[in-house]
C-alpha cells in the first residue's frame, strides 16, 4: 500500500514538473511571438512615417514657403515630386530638442530662434513661433503618446574642405567620400567668396567671387587661387560635387576676427516674403561693423546668379546706432545670402545664410530621443534637396513599452 502511495506521489511530482516545464517553454514562445508582433507594428509604423515624410508634401502643400499653420505633416517638394524634399519646409522644423539649444536674440528679449547650423555660425535661424515642433508633428501623424520618432536627414556624400598652407597663395583641399570610401572622378563646381577691404573712402567690405569647375580624379584635389594671398584672408568657400547622379556639398570658411562667434547674425523674419534680419550680435564686446550683403541664386547646374537686395550695405552697432537692418531675398529661389563685415580695426569676417537647406549641405535632425528604448525600428531612403543627394532615416519606437 505504502509502495503504491510513494509511486503515486513520485508520478504526480514528475508530471507537475513536466507540465511546468512545458508551460514555461510555451509561455516563452508566446511572449516571444507577442514581442515580435509588437516590434513588427513599430517597424510598420516606421515605414508609414518615412513614406509620409518623404512622399507627401503636407497640407498646405507649400507650407514651407509661407508662414501658414500646418494641418498635415509632410516634407516632399510639391514641385519636384518623388523622393525630393522641400528645402523650405525643412527650414520650418524646430530641430532643437530643448530650449537651451535655441538662440535668443536680442539677449533677454524673449524672442527665440531655432538654430539649424552648418558650422561656425553659418546656418538657418528661424523664428520659433513659425517652426513646427515635434509634438505637433506627432499629433498630425496620429502617433502622439503611442510612438516616438526621429528624422535624420544627412548628405549622402561627405565633402571635407581644408586650407593647405605654404604656397604663398590660397590653396584649398577638397576631399570627397561616399559611404566612407573616397569618391574619385567627380566634377567640382566651386565658388570662393573672398572678403576684401576696398579703400579708405568706402567703409563697406567687398565680396569678390571666384568660380570654376575642376575634375577630381582621385577623390582629393587641391584648388589654387593665385589671386588670393594666404596671409590670413577672410573668405567662404562652397563646392558642389557631382558624379553619376549623386551630388554633395562642401563648405569652408575663415575669418580674420579674433573671435569664435560671428559679429553679424542673419535671422529669418518672414518665410512668405523672404525677409531676413541682418543683426549685430549684441555682444557688449563686439565693435560696430559695416557689412555688405549679397544674395546668390543657386541655379540647377550649381552656378551662382547674383541678385540685388535691399539694404545690401550698412553700419550695425550694439550700443548707440542701429542694431539691425532688414533685407528681402527672392522667397521662391534657393540660394546663399553672403554677408561680409568689417570692424574699425580692419578685421574681416563673413557669414552665410543658406536660403533652402540643401544649398549649404546642412544636416537636419527632428524629433524625439530614442535612447533607452529596447526596440527602435529604422527606415532609410535616398532623397534629394535642390538636386543635392541626402539620406533620410526615420527611427521609430513604441512609447507603451
Amino acid at each position: 500500500m505504502a509502495g503504491a502511495t510513494i509511486d503515486h506521489m513520485v508520478a504526480v511530482t514528475i508530471l507537475i514538473a513536466a507540465l511546468l516545464l512545458t508551460m514555461g517553454i510555451y509561455n516563452q514562445m508566446f511572449a516571444s511571438a507577442v514581442a515580435y508582433e509588437n516590434n513588427r507594428k513599430v517597424a510598420m509604423k516606421a515605414v508609414d512615417i518615412i513614406n509620409t515624410a518623404c512622399i507627401c508634401p503636407g497640407n498646405p502643400e507649400d507650407w514651407g514657403e509661407t508662414n501658414a499653420s500646418l494641418l498635415g505633416f509632410g516634407l516632399q517638394d510639391p514641385q519636384a515630386g518623388g523622393y525630393a524634399l522641400s528645402p523650405y519646409s525643412l527650414m520650418r522644423l524646430r530641430t532643437s530638442s530643448n530650449d537651451s539649444q535655441l538662440v535668443e536674440y536680442p539677449p533677454d528679449s524673449g524672442l527665440f530662434y531655432n538654430n539649424i547650423s552648418a558650422n561656425f555660425g553659418h546656418g538657418v535661424l528661424s523664428p520659433v513661433g513659425d517652426c513646427l515642433n515635434y509634438t505637433a508633428a506627432a499629433k498630425m501623424l496620429g502617433i502622439n503618446g503611442t510612438y516616438g520618432f526621429r528624422i535624420d536627414i544627412v548628405p549622402t556624400l561627405d565633402v571635407n574642405v581644408s586650407q593647405v598652407l605654404g604656397f604663398g597663395h590660397l590653396v584649398l583641399n577638397v576631399d570627397v567620400k561616399g559611404s566612407g570610401l573616397p569618391l574619385s572622378g567627380a566634377t567640382l563646381n566651386y565658388h570662393l567668396f573672398h572678403v576684401n577691404k576696398t579703400d579708405d573712402e568706402d567703409p563697406f567690405p567687398l565680396i569678390v567671387t571666384y568660380s570654376g569647375i575642376a575634375p577630381n580624379p582621385s577623390g582629393s584635389v587641391d584648388i589654387h587661387f593665385s589671386n588670393v594671398t594666404d596671409d590670413d584672408p577672410s573668405y567662404s568657400f562652397t563646392v558642389y560635387v557631382s558624379l553619376g547622379g549623386v551630388t554633395g556639398v562642401g563648405y569652408y570658411t575663415h575669418n580674420t576676427i579674433d573671435s569664435e562667434s560671428q559679429y553679424i547674425i542673419p535671422l529669418i523674419q518672414d518665410f512668405d516674403d523672404g525677409k531676413i534680419i541682418i543683426a549685430h550680435n549684441w555682444n557688449g564686446d563686439t565693435p560696430a561693423v559695416t557689412y555688405n550683403a549679397t544674395f546668390f541664386i543657386l541655379t540647377s547646374d550649381f552656378q551662382l546668379q547674383q541678385v540685388q537686395i535691399a539694404n545690401s550695405t550698412g553700419l550695425l552697432n550694439s550700443g548707440a546706432g542701429k542694431p539691425y537692418n532688414t533685407t528681402q531675398v527672392p522667397a521662391y529661389e534657393v540660394g546663399l545670402l553672403v554677408i561680409s563685415y568689417l570692424t574699425p580695426e580692419d578685421d574681416m569676417g563673413n557669414v552665410i545664410l543658406p536660403w533652402g537647406v540643401g544649398t549649404l549641405g546642412v544636416s537636419i535632425s527632428f524629433g524625439g530621443d530614442p535612447t533607452g528604448y529596447s526596440f527602435v525600428a529604422t527606415e532609410l531612403r535616398q532623397v534629394s534637396i535642390n538636386d543635392i543627394s541626402y539620406q533620410a532615416k526615420v527611427s521609430t519606437w513604441s512609447l507603451n513599452g
Binding site: V12, I14, S32, S179, Q308, F375, R381
Partner: protein
C-alpha cells in the same frame, strides 16, 4: 506502474513540445524589421535619375566611362552593409507581338545572401525621335496669325526674377514659333511703336499686324515707345500719369484683333523705357520704369472694349492662393507636351465681374478656388467685338509654360505626331539590394 504511465505522459508532452518547436519556428523579436530594401532601391533609382543621368547612362555603350561613374555613385549612396546588382534589360517586340527582355548590362559589388529585394525603373532613350507637325494658328480660318514677342533692349522687367525678358523671349520663341507661320521678335520700344502704328517690322512674307499675338515678356511692366505714345499716353490729371498708354494698347488690341499676353502678375502695372525714364524707378530700385498701378489694367480693358478712357485705379484682383489646372488643361498638357506644375499660386486673379463690365468671354485654364469663386486665376479674355487679353495672374517667378498652355488652349492648333526609332529604345533598370549576411 503509475510512474510508467506518467513517463508515457511526459514523453507525449515533450514530443508535442519538440514537434511544436520544430515546426513553429518563431523569429526573434529583434528581427521584426530589416531596412525595407525594395523602397530603398526605388528611392535610389529615382534620386539617381533626378536629373536624367541614370537614363542617359543606361543607353550608353557598355564600355563607356559613365557606367563606372554610375557604379561609384551607387557605392557612395548605399550603406556599406548593403550589396547591389543593377541590371539593364533591353525591351524589344518580336514580329508576333511578344515582348522580349535581353540583359544589356549588369553591375554589382558582391554576391547576395538568401534575401534580397528589387525595384525597377523604365527608361526611354534620349535618342528617340518624336516629330510633331503642328497646325499653324489661323491656318484654317485664313487669318495666319503672326506671333510678336517683345524683346526690347531698352526696357526693364518686373516680377520675372531669375530671368531676363530676353531669355524668356527666346524660350517662348522655341516653344511657340512652330505653331505660327511667322514669328517676329520686337527688339526695341521703337519697333513696338512701329507695330502699334501698323508698320510691318520685317516686311517678310507672312508677317501680318492684324490678328497677331503679342507676348509681353517684361512681366508686370510694359514697354512704352518714347515720342507719340509718351505724349498721348500721358494723363496730367491722373495720379499715375501713364495709365492712358494702357488704354491705347487696349484700343490697338481691339482695332487689330490682337491677343495681348501678360505672362505674370498684375498686368500693365508699370511702363518701362530705360531711356525715357532714365531717372525714374518703380519704387523698388529698378530704374527705367514708372508705376501706373492698378489703373493700367482698367484702362486697357476700357480700350479693348471700345470704351472712352476714364482714369480708374480700382483694384480688380484677388489672391486666391493655390489653384489647380482644370482637367481640360491637363489633357492639353499631354496633347501639346507642355507640362507646367499642375498647381500654381495665384496672387493677381482678375475678378469675374470684368466679363460683364467689358463684354468678355473667358477661356480659363485653372479651376477657380472654391474660396474665391468669382476670381479667375488665368485666362484669355476675348472681347466680343475683337481683340483679347491673356492674363496669367500667378505669382512670380513666371512659368512661361502656363502662358504657352493658355494660348494653345485658346487657339487649339492640331498636332500631328509621328515617332521614329522607337524599337529597342526602352530599357528596364532593376536594382536588386541585399543586406550582407542576409536579413
Amino acid at each position: 506502474m503509475r510512474t510508467v504511465e506518467v513517463l508515457f505522459v511526459i514523453i507525449i508532452l515533450l514530443g508535442a513540445l519538440i514537434i511544436t518547436i520544430q515546426f513553429a519556428v518563431l523569429p526573434s523579436p529583434q528581427q521584426a524589421f530589416g531596412t525595407n530594401l525594395r523602397e530603398l532601391s526605388q528611392s535610389t533609382l529615382e534620386t539617381l535619375d533626378g536629373k536624367g543621368i541614370l537614363t542617359e547612362t543606361v543607353f550608353k555603350d557598355p564600355n563607356d566611362t559613365a557606367w563606372g561613374n554610375l557604379q561609384k555613385a551607387l557605392s557612395a549612396s548605399l550603406p556599406p552593409n548593403v550589396v547591389y546588382n543593377l541590371s539593364v534589360y533591353d525591351i524589344s517586340t518580336s514580329s508576333g507581338g511578344v515582348i522580349n527582355y535581353h540583359l544589356a548590362k549588369s553591375i554589382s559589388d558582391a554576391g547576395f545572401g538568401v534575401d534580397s529585394e528589387a525595384a525597377s525603373l523604365l527608361a526611354t532613350s534620349p535618342n528617340v525621335t518624336f516629330t510633331i507637325t503642328p497646325e499653324k494658328v489661323g491656318e484654317k480660318t485664313g487669318e495666319n496669325n503672326t506671333l510678336y514677342i517683345l524683346n526690347c533692349n531698352d526696357a526693364n522687367g518686373w516680377w520675372i526674377v531669375g530671368y531676363s525678358a530676353q531669355t524668356l523671349a527666346l524660350d517662348l520663341y522655341n516653344l511657340l514659333s512652330p505653331y505660327f507661320q511667322t514669328t517676329v521678335l520686337v527688339n526695341s520700344t521703337y519697333e513696338l511703336g512701329q507695330l502699334l502704328n501698323r508698320t510691318l517690322l520685317t516686311g517678310g512674307d507672312g508677317e501680318k499686324v492684324e490678328d497677331a499675338v503679342v507676348i509681353n515678356t517684361f512681366g508686370e511692366s510694359v514697354p512704352i515707345p518714347s515720342g507719340y505714345y509718351t505724349t498721348v499716353g500721358y494723363d496730367p490729371d491722373a495720379t499715375y500719369k501713364y495709365a492712358k498708354y494702357s488704354w491705347y494698347l487696349g484700343q490697338r488690341t481691339n482695332q487689330y484683333n490682337w491677343t495681348w499676353v501678360s505672362i505674370v502678375g498684375y498686368p500693365f502695372y508699370y511702363v518701362t523705357n530705360t531711356d525715357f525714364f532714365k531717372y525714374d524707378h518703380n519704387g523698388w530700385g529698378i530704374y527705367g520704369m514708372k508705376m501706373i498701378y492698378q489703373a493700367g489694367v482698367n484702362a486697357f480693358l476700357q480700350g479693348l472694349s471700345n470704351q472712352p478712357y476714364t482714369y480708374n485705379e480700382t483694384k480688380i484682383t484677388e489672391r486666391p492662393g493655390v489653384v489647380y489646372l482644370s482637367s481640360e488643361a491637363l489633357d492639353l498638357c499631354n496633347y501639346y507636351g507642355v507640362y507646367p506644375a499642375p498647381y500654381q499660386t495665384s496672387d493677381r486673379a482678375l475678378q469675374s465681374s470684368i466679363l460683364s463690365t467689358y463684354n468678355l468671354v473667358a477661356t480659363e485654364i485653372f479651376d477657380r478656388s472654391p474660396e474665391y469663386p468669382n476670381c479667375i486665376p488665368a485666362a484669355t479674355y476675348r472681347h466680343t467685338g475683337g481683340g483679347a487679353l491673356t492674363a496669367i495672374g500667378l505669382t512670380r517667378t513666371p512659368d512661361i509654360r502656363v502662358s504657352v498652355l493658355a494660348l494653345l488652349m485658346y487657339y487649339r492648333p492640331a498636332v500631328y505626331k509621328s515617332e521614329f526609332g522607337a524599337s529597342c529604345t526602352s530599357r528596364v533598370v532593376t536594382l536588386q539590394l541585399g543586406q550582407q549576411g542576409g536579413t
